[in-house]
Symmetry: C2
Subunit: 140 residues, 2 copies
Amino acid sequence: MSAGDYRLDEQIGFLLRRAQQRATAIFTARFAGYGLTPTQFAALAKIADEGEVSQNRLGRLTAMDPATMKGVTDRLSERGLIAARADQEDRRRTQWRLTDPGAALLAAAYGDGFAVTAEILDPLSPRERATFLRLLEKIT
Amino acid sequence: MSAGDYRLDEQIGFLLRRAQQRATAIFTARFAGYGLTPTQFAALAKIADEGEVSQNRLGRLTAMDPATMKGVTDRLSERGLIAARADQEDRRRTQWRLTDPGAALLAAAYGDGFAVTAEILDPLSPRERATFLRLLEKIT
DNA sequence: ACAAATTCGTTCGTATACAAACAAGTTAAG
DNA sequence: CTTAACTTGTTTGTATACGAACGAATTTGT
Protein backbone atom coordinates (compact mmCIF):
# COMPACT_ATOMS: atom_id res chain seq x y z
CA MET A 1 0.00 0.00 0.00
CA SER A 2 1.60 3.27 -1.09
CA ALA A 3 0.61 6.89 -0.59
CA GLY A 4 -0.56 6.95 -4.19
CA ASP A 5 -3.43 4.66 -3.23
CA TYR A 6 -4.97 7.28 -1.00
CA ARG A 7 -7.67 8.89 -3.08
CA LEU A 8 -9.13 11.82 -1.24
CA ASP A 9 -12.26 11.86 -3.35
CA GLU A 10 -13.15 8.35 -2.16
CA GLN A 11 -12.71 8.99 1.55
CA ILE A 12 -15.96 9.09 3.45
CA GLY A 13 -14.86 12.06 5.53
CA PHE A 14 -14.21 14.15 2.47
CA LEU A 15 -17.48 13.14 0.84
CA LEU A 16 -19.41 13.94 4.01
CA ARG A 17 -17.78 17.34 4.17
CA ARG A 18 -18.69 18.11 0.57
CA ALA A 19 -22.23 16.81 1.00
CA GLN A 20 -22.67 19.07 3.98
CA GLN A 21 -21.33 22.02 2.03
CA ARG A 22 -23.98 21.43 -0.62
CA ALA A 23 -26.68 20.98 2.03
CA THR A 24 -25.66 24.21 3.74
CA ALA A 25 -25.64 26.08 0.43
CA ILE A 26 -29.17 24.87 -0.36
CA PHE A 27 -30.33 25.87 3.11
CA THR A 28 -28.68 29.28 2.92
CA ALA A 29 -30.29 30.05 -0.43
CA ARG A 30 -33.73 28.99 0.74
CA PHE A 31 -33.49 30.75 4.11
CA ALA A 32 -31.88 33.98 2.95
CA GLY A 33 -35.08 35.87 3.65
CA TYR A 34 -35.26 34.73 7.25
CA GLY A 35 -31.66 35.47 8.20
CA LEU A 36 -31.42 32.07 9.88
CA THR A 37 -28.51 29.65 9.73
CA PRO A 38 -29.05 25.87 9.84
CA THR A 39 -28.05 25.69 13.48
CA GLN A 40 -30.22 28.64 14.45
CA PHE A 41 -33.19 27.07 12.70
CA ALA A 42 -32.49 23.77 14.43
CA ALA A 43 -32.37 25.52 17.79
CA LEU A 44 -35.67 27.33 17.17
CA ALA A 45 -37.36 24.11 16.05
CA LYS A 46 -36.18 22.22 19.12
CA ILE A 47 -37.18 24.97 21.52
CA ALA A 48 -40.61 24.89 19.90
CA ASP A 49 -40.78 21.12 20.45
CA GLU A 50 -39.74 21.36 24.07
CA GLY A 51 -41.67 24.46 25.01
CA GLU A 52 -38.96 25.38 27.46
CA VAL A 53 -35.48 23.91 27.56
CA SER A 54 -32.19 24.56 29.31
CA GLN A 55 -29.24 25.79 27.31
CA ASN A 56 -27.09 22.67 27.71
CA ARG A 57 -29.99 20.32 27.02
CA LEU A 58 -30.79 22.30 23.89
CA GLY A 59 -27.19 21.78 22.87
CA ARG A 60 -27.51 18.03 23.31
CA LEU A 61 -30.75 17.94 21.34
CA THR A 62 -29.27 19.91 18.45
CA ALA A 63 -25.78 18.38 18.59
CA MET A 64 -23.94 21.53 19.63
CA ASP A 65 -21.37 21.68 22.39
CA PRO A 66 -21.89 24.24 25.19
CA ALA A 67 -19.46 26.75 23.71
CA THR A 68 -21.21 26.68 20.34
CA MET A 69 -24.66 26.74 21.93
CA LYS A 70 -23.77 29.92 23.78
CA GLY A 71 -23.08 31.78 20.55
CA VAL A 72 -26.29 30.54 18.95
CA THR A 73 -28.54 31.44 21.90
CA ASP A 74 -26.79 34.80 22.21
CA ARG A 75 -27.56 35.70 18.61
CA LEU A 76 -31.15 34.40 18.68
CA SER A 77 -31.70 36.24 21.94
CA GLU A 78 -30.23 39.49 20.60
CA ARG A 79 -32.70 39.27 17.71
CA GLY A 80 -35.54 38.82 20.18
CA LEU A 81 -36.50 35.38 18.81
CA ILE A 82 -35.98 33.57 22.12
CA ALA A 83 -36.09 34.67 25.76
CA ALA A 84 -34.42 33.36 28.90
CA ARG A 85 -35.86 32.58 32.32
CA ALA A 86 -33.79 31.81 35.40
CA ASP A 87 -34.58 28.37 36.78
CA GLN A 88 -35.59 28.55 40.45
CA GLU A 89 -35.03 24.86 41.16
CA ASP A 90 -31.55 24.75 39.64
CA ARG A 91 -29.89 28.11 39.72
CA ARG A 92 -27.20 27.07 37.26
CA ARG A 93 -29.75 26.68 34.50
CA THR A 94 -30.94 29.12 31.86
CA GLN A 95 -34.28 28.10 30.45
CA TRP A 96 -35.07 29.23 26.91
CA ARG A 97 -38.41 29.63 25.18
CA LEU A 98 -39.64 31.16 21.92
CA THR A 99 -40.88 34.72 21.95
CA ASP A 100 -43.95 35.56 19.87
CA PRO A 101 -41.79 36.93 17.03
CA GLY A 102 -39.66 33.78 17.28
CA ALA A 103 -42.71 31.53 17.04
CA ALA A 104 -44.03 33.58 14.13
CA LEU A 105 -40.74 33.40 12.25
CA LEU A 106 -40.53 29.67 12.80
CA ALA A 107 -44.10 29.16 11.62
CA ALA A 108 -43.32 31.11 8.46
CA ALA A 109 -40.06 29.28 7.85
CA TYR A 110 -40.57 25.65 8.72
CA GLY A 111 -42.18 24.81 5.39
CA ASP A 112 -38.94 25.82 3.73
CA GLY A 113 -37.22 23.33 6.00
CA PHE A 114 -39.02 20.53 4.19
CA ALA A 115 -38.15 22.14 0.87
CA VAL A 116 -34.47 22.15 1.81
CA THR A 117 -34.56 18.45 2.68
CA ALA A 118 -36.35 17.70 -0.57
CA GLU A 119 -33.85 19.64 -2.63
CA ILE A 120 -30.86 17.98 -0.97
CA LEU A 121 -32.33 14.56 -1.72
CA ASP A 122 -33.43 15.49 -5.22
CA PRO A 123 -30.66 13.49 -6.97
CA LEU A 124 -31.95 10.28 -5.37
CA SER A 125 -34.96 8.13 -6.20
CA PRO A 126 -37.54 7.63 -3.42
CA ARG A 127 -36.12 4.19 -2.77
CA GLU A 128 -32.57 5.51 -2.64
CA ARG A 129 -33.64 8.25 -0.24
CA ALA A 130 -34.97 5.75 2.26
CA THR A 131 -31.81 3.67 1.99
CA PHE A 132 -29.56 6.70 2.32
CA LEU A 133 -31.38 7.97 5.40
CA ARG A 134 -31.18 4.58 7.04
CA LEU A 135 -27.46 4.20 6.41
CA LEU A 136 -26.74 7.80 7.38
CA GLU A 137 -28.45 7.26 10.72
CA LYS A 138 -26.40 4.12 11.19
CA ILE A 139 -23.06 5.86 10.90
CA THR A 140 -24.09 8.77 13.11
CA MET B 1 -48.79 20.10 7.60
CA SER B 2 -48.09 21.74 10.93
CA ALA B 3 -44.88 22.82 12.60
CA GLY B 4 -45.14 19.77 14.82
CA ASP B 5 -44.45 17.58 11.82
CA TYR B 6 -40.96 18.97 11.41
CA ARG B 7 -38.69 16.43 13.06
CA LEU B 8 -35.19 17.76 13.16
CA ASP B 9 -33.70 14.33 13.71
CA GLU B 10 -35.07 13.15 10.36
CA GLN B 11 -33.76 16.04 8.26
CA ILE B 12 -30.84 15.15 6.03
CA GLY B 13 -29.05 18.38 6.78
CA PHE B 14 -29.06 17.62 10.48
CA LEU B 15 -28.02 14.00 9.98
CA LEU B 16 -25.21 15.05 7.66
CA ARG B 17 -23.98 17.55 10.21
CA ARG B 18 -23.95 14.93 12.96
CA ALA B 19 -22.30 12.35 10.74
CA GLN B 20 -19.56 14.82 9.94
CA GLN B 21 -19.12 15.60 13.61
CA ARG B 22 -18.53 11.93 14.28
CA ALA B 23 -16.18 11.63 11.30
CA THR B 24 -14.19 14.64 12.47
CA ALA B 25 -13.98 13.26 16.00
CA ILE B 26 -12.63 9.94 14.71
CA PHE B 27 -10.11 11.75 12.52
CA THR B 28 -9.01 14.04 15.34
CA ALA B 29 -8.43 11.13 17.72
CA ARG B 30 -6.45 9.16 15.15
CA PHE B 31 -4.40 12.15 13.96
CA ALA B 32 -3.69 13.72 17.36
CA GLY B 33 -0.04 12.73 17.08
CA TYR B 34 0.42 14.49 13.75
CA GLY B 35 -1.22 17.77 14.66
CA LEU B 36 -3.13 17.72 11.38
CA THR B 37 -6.77 18.64 10.83
CA PRO B 38 -8.89 16.91 8.18
CA THR B 39 -8.57 19.84 5.80
CA GLN B 40 -4.83 20.13 6.33
CA PHE B 41 -4.40 16.43 5.65
CA ALA B 42 -6.56 16.74 2.54
CA ALA B 43 -4.44 19.63 1.31
CA LEU B 44 -1.18 17.72 1.89
CA ALA B 45 -2.53 14.64 0.11
CA LYS B 46 -3.67 16.68 -2.90
CA ILE B 47 -0.39 18.58 -3.15
CA ALA B 48 1.37 15.21 -3.12
CA ASP B 49 -0.88 14.03 -5.96
CA GLU B 50 -0.30 17.11 -8.04
CA GLY B 51 3.38 17.61 -7.32
CA GLU B 52 2.89 21.34 -7.62
CA VAL B 53 -0.40 23.16 -7.58
CA SER B 54 -1.65 26.74 -7.37
CA GLN B 55 -3.44 27.91 -4.27
CA ASN B 56 -6.85 28.40 -5.88
CA ARG B 57 -6.66 25.13 -7.78
CA LEU B 58 -5.77 23.36 -4.55
CA GLY B 59 -8.87 24.92 -3.05
CA ARG B 60 -11.04 23.55 -5.85
CA LEU B 61 -9.51 20.08 -5.52
CA THR B 62 -10.08 19.99 -1.77
CA ALA B 63 -13.43 21.82 -1.76
CA MET B 64 -12.23 24.92 0.09
CA ASP B 65 -13.03 28.44 -0.97
CA PRO B 66 -10.11 30.86 -1.48
CA ALA B 67 -10.49 32.51 1.93
CA THR B 68 -10.42 29.16 3.71
CA MET B 69 -7.55 27.90 1.56
CA LYS B 70 -5.46 30.88 2.57
CA GLY B 71 -5.66 29.99 6.24
CA VAL B 72 -4.82 26.35 5.59
CA THR B 73 -1.79 27.07 3.38
CA ASP B 74 -0.63 29.72 5.85
CA ARG B 75 -0.61 27.23 8.71
CA LEU B 76 0.96 24.40 6.73
CA SER B 77 3.57 26.81 5.45
CA GLU B 78 4.34 28.17 8.91
CA ARG B 79 4.96 24.61 10.06
CA GLY B 80 7.33 24.09 7.15
CA LEU B 81 5.27 21.28 5.62
CA ILE B 82 4.72 23.05 2.30
CA ALA B 83 6.66 25.71 0.39
CA ALA B 84 5.63 28.33 -2.16
CA ARG B 85 7.11 29.25 -5.50
CA ALA B 86 6.16 32.30 -7.54
CA ASP B 87 4.80 31.36 -10.96
CA GLN B 88 6.73 33.11 -13.76
CA GLU B 89 4.10 32.54 -16.42
CA ASP B 90 1.24 33.87 -14.33
CA ARG B 91 2.41 36.32 -11.73
CA ARG B 92 -0.87 36.14 -9.82
CA ARG B 93 -0.26 32.52 -8.92
CA THR B 94 1.36 30.96 -5.87
CA GLN B 95 2.48 27.40 -6.55
CA TRP B 96 2.68 25.05 -3.59
CA ARG B 97 4.68 21.87 -3.14
CA LEU B 98 5.52 19.55 -0.25
CA THR B 99 8.75 20.10 1.63
CA ASP B 100 10.76 17.04 2.68
CA PRO B 101 9.33 17.21 6.21
CA GLY B 102 5.87 17.59 4.70
CA ALA B 103 6.35 14.53 2.49
CA ALA B 104 7.73 12.57 5.45
CA LEU B 105 4.81 13.51 7.69
CA LEU B 106 2.33 12.59 4.97
CA ALA B 107 4.04 9.25 4.38
CA ALA B 108 3.86 8.50 8.10
CA ALA B 109 0.23 9.58 8.37
CA TYR B 110 -1.60 8.40 5.28
CA GLY B 111 -2.09 4.87 6.62
CA ASP B 112 -4.11 6.38 9.43
CA GLY B 113 -6.22 8.01 6.75
CA PHE B 114 -7.45 4.59 5.68
CA ALA B 115 -7.99 3.66 9.32
CA VAL B 116 -10.19 6.73 9.80
CA THR B 117 -12.32 5.81 6.80
CA ALA B 118 -12.62 2.25 8.06
CA GLU B 119 -13.66 3.35 11.53
CA ILE B 120 -16.27 5.77 10.22
CA LEU B 121 -17.79 3.02 8.08
CA ASP B 122 -17.50 0.38 10.79
CA PRO B 123 -21.26 0.35 11.60
CA LEU B 124 -22.03 -0.70 8.03
CA SER B 125 -21.67 -4.06 6.30
CA PRO B 126 -19.38 -4.19 3.24
CA ARG B 127 -22.44 -4.17 1.01
CA GLU B 128 -23.94 -1.19 2.85
CA ARG B 129 -20.65 0.67 2.59
CA ALA B 130 -20.64 0.43 -1.17
CA THR B 131 -24.26 1.56 -1.33
CA PHE B 132 -23.67 4.43 1.05
CA LEU B 133 -20.63 5.70 -0.83
CA ARG B 134 -22.52 5.56 -4.10
CA LEU B 135 -25.49 7.49 -2.77
CA LEU B 136 -23.31 9.97 -0.93
CA GLU B 137 -21.46 10.77 -4.15
CA LYS B 138 -24.81 11.23 -5.88
CA ILE B 139 -26.00 13.95 -3.52
CA THR B 140 -22.67 15.78 -3.53
C1' DA C 1 -23.35 15.58 57.04
C1' DC C 2 -19.69 16.09 53.99
C1' DA C 3 -16.27 15.36 50.53
C1' DA C 4 -16.06 13.88 45.71
C1' DA C 5 -17.94 13.80 41.40
C1' DT C 6 -20.84 15.79 38.15
C1' DT C 7 -23.42 19.28 35.72
C1' DC C 8 -24.28 24.04 33.98
C1' DG C 9 -22.88 27.79 31.70
C1' DT C 10 -18.82 30.93 30.42
C1' DT C 11 -14.45 32.29 28.38
C1' DC C 12 -10.37 31.82 25.54
C1' DG C 13 -7.90 30.13 21.69
C1' DT C 14 -7.66 27.83 17.24
C1' DA C 15 -9.59 26.19 12.87
C1' DT C 16 -12.84 25.78 9.31
C1' DA C 17 -16.45 28.04 6.14
C1' DC C 18 -18.12 31.49 3.31
C1' DA C 19 -20.02 36.22 1.65
C1' DA C 20 -18.38 40.44 0.00
C1' DA C 21 -15.27 43.68 -1.65
C1' DC C 22 -10.80 44.50 -3.41
C1' DA C 23 -6.16 45.02 -6.25
C1' DA C 24 -3.37 43.05 -9.59
C1' DG C 25 -2.69 40.17 -13.47
C1' DT C 26 -4.49 37.58 -17.56
C1' DT C 27 -7.67 36.46 -21.26
C1' DA C 28 -11.36 37.32 -24.49
C1' DA C 29 -14.21 40.24 -27.55
C1' DG C 30 -14.71 43.69 -30.59
C1' DC D 1 -5.18 47.07 -29.78
C1' DT D 2 -7.83 48.11 -26.23
C1' DT D 3 -11.45 47.56 -23.26
C1' DA D 4 -14.32 44.33 -20.79
C1' DA D 5 -14.54 40.17 -18.45
C1' DC D 6 -12.47 37.00 -15.76
C1' DT D 7 -9.07 34.81 -12.55
C1' DT D 8 -5.93 34.81 -8.55
C1' DG D 9 -5.12 35.73 -4.11
C1' DT D 10 -6.09 38.86 0.09
C1' DT D 11 -8.74 41.00 3.70
C1' DT D 12 -12.69 41.73 6.72
C1' DG D 13 -16.64 40.22 9.10
C1' DT D 14 -19.82 36.70 10.79
C1' DA D 15 -20.93 32.00 12.27
C1' DT D 16 -20.15 27.38 13.50
C1' DA D 17 -17.17 23.82 16.03
C1' DC D 18 -14.63 22.21 19.72
C1' DG D 19 -10.69 21.54 23.31
C1' DA D 20 -9.47 23.22 27.68
C1' DA D 21 -9.93 25.47 31.85
C1' DC D 22 -12.88 27.70 35.09
C1' DG D 23 -16.46 29.10 38.98
C1' DA D 24 -20.80 28.11 40.75
C1' DA D 25 -24.43 24.96 41.83
C1' DT D 26 -26.20 20.34 42.42
C1' DT D 27 -25.98 15.37 43.06
C1' DT D 28 -23.75 11.23 44.64
C1' DG D 29 -21.33 8.14 47.66
C1' DT D 30 -20.16 6.97 52.11
